[in-house]
């Protein structure tokens, strides 16, 4: 899973001021223009490295933290088959985090530094995981729609310019298709079930509608995005385009089983071919990003608990002769 990243105006301004070796920069940009991938040992602009680290790291943290709300439902899964599927999915998500930490390490930030920055709050993760999973129907909505939204994002990003990130994403997208199918299965099962089950899944949908709209980040009208990110193929689609693609793919699948989304304005404008909806509360989005969401504290506490509980095991296994080596790919 993964939510979109965004930049503050200050950061975007700073980025436009960095000076790189002009000749190398021209050669670098020409490579990207030709569709070539950049590999770890290659020359790259300072900001290219910086923005990739930031993006891949946030993505990695989102996989790890994203597994937490679902993890709590493993022991409460209704039935053995669903439990097996959920265990497999949660394990996949942790695996995605590992793959992404590896990709990020090739850029020069160690795994330990990343985990520290997650715990200290310096690095972010996707906002959507700061909301609670109250019932089993939330599992259905998360597996189907949060993973669905993440796939939109990840498929687009897998066409980017940095080799290790693209390779990790290809592997991840392959595994995500199972997450989506099992989520859809759970979703349809509840939607076509008893009245109580339908009500449960409708309520979960109502809870997740706003976080899902927030998922792709602020609107293009208000958010700053650097031209460089697009030119360097770090970002490949705007937030609004991705959000629109998501609504295009998933609203019909929600409506076909007779469920609704809690927004009277939500409809596709057939002239512009774009979805229209009431503006979700962006103040809430920023509040949650900055730590004041329903589950921010709990998520980090669980992470910290795991970090501390596992520390003696990791330390017991460390050989004083071991040296850290940046991986190849």
């Amino acid at each position: 899973m993964y939510g979109n990243t965004f930049m503050t105006a200050e950061e975007a301004k700073q980025m436009d001021q960095t000076q790189d070796n002009p000749q190398k920069l021209i050669a670098f940009e020409a490579r990207i223009e030709r569709g070539e991938k950049i590999e770890p040992g290659d020359w790259m602009p300072v900001d290219y490295r910086k923005q990739l680290i930031r993006m891949i790291e946030q993505h990695a943290h989102s996989e790890i933290v994203g597994a937490l709300p679902e993890g709590t439902w493993i022991t409460r899964s209704p039935g053995f088959k669903r439990k097996l599927a959920l265990i497999a999915k949660v394990q996949d998500e942790i695996g995605h985090g590992q793959l992404l930490y590896s990709a990020c390490e090739t850029l020069g930030k160690t795994r330990e530094e990343m985990l520290d920055d997650l715990l200290s709050g310096k690095s972010k993760y996707s906002n959507v995981f700061n909301y609670p999973a109250k019932t089993w129907a939330d599992m259905a909505v998360i597996g189907f729609l949060v993973d669905g939204a993440a796939i939109v994002n990840q498929v687009i990003n897998s066409k980017g310019s940095y080799g290790p990130y693209c390779r990790a994403l290809e592997r991840i997208c392959f595994e995500e298709s199972f997450h989506l199918k099992q989520g859809h299965d759970n979703f349809v099962f509840l939607a076509t079930g008893t009245n109580v089950q339908r009500e449960m899944v409708q309520e979960a949908l109502n809870r997740w509608y706003i976080p899902l709209l927030h998922f792709f980040g602020p609107s293009d009208k208000t958010s700053v995005h650097s031209e460089k990110l697009m030119k360097w193929k770090i970002k490949l689609a705007t937030n609004d385009d991705m959000r629109n693609q998501f609504l295009d793919q998933y609203v019909p699948k929600i409506r076909e089983v007779g469920l609704t989304l809690p927004d009277e304005k939500l409809k596709k404008n057939l002239e512009t071919n774009k979805w229209e909806f009431s503006d979700p509360d962006w103040d809430e989005f920023y509040r949650v990003v900055n730590g004041d969401g329903p589950c921010n504290k709990e998520r980090l506490e669980v992470r910290r608990f795991a970090e501390e509980q596992g520390r003696w095991v990791r330390q017991a296994l460390v050989n004083p002769q071991d040296k850290y080596v940046t991986p190849f790919a």
Binding site: Q98, D116, Q309, W312, F328
Partner: protein, 122 residues
Amino acid sequence: MSNESLDPRIRRLDLEHVKNGVQPTNSHWITFEVFHQEKRGRQAIHVGIVHAPSPEIALMFAKEQYARRKSTSNLWVVKSSEVFTFASEDEDIFETTPDKTFREPGFYKVRDRIEAYKNKHS
């Protein structure tokens, strides 16, 4: 949830440095490159990396990470530090290889000559 562990081994550890974001030295595990062999007789192909304190544990992690799906016959792990490669900017040393068509079977065209010979001598 409480962070106070009931496990005495953990309570005895000094965990203060975690809160300050300081890592103790020697906190890094070794990086291993992982190769996956799908079936007997196939090549082992590089698939990614794991971090582990020893080759044995690296294999265990590699099994979880790279052999969860589809078939696997075996896995290899090699310390990243033991892999030697060319510098990526030296890529041009391989540049002329595709031009060496005399190394390819398609370069050798004998049919025309044989036909000409046959026509001449029949």
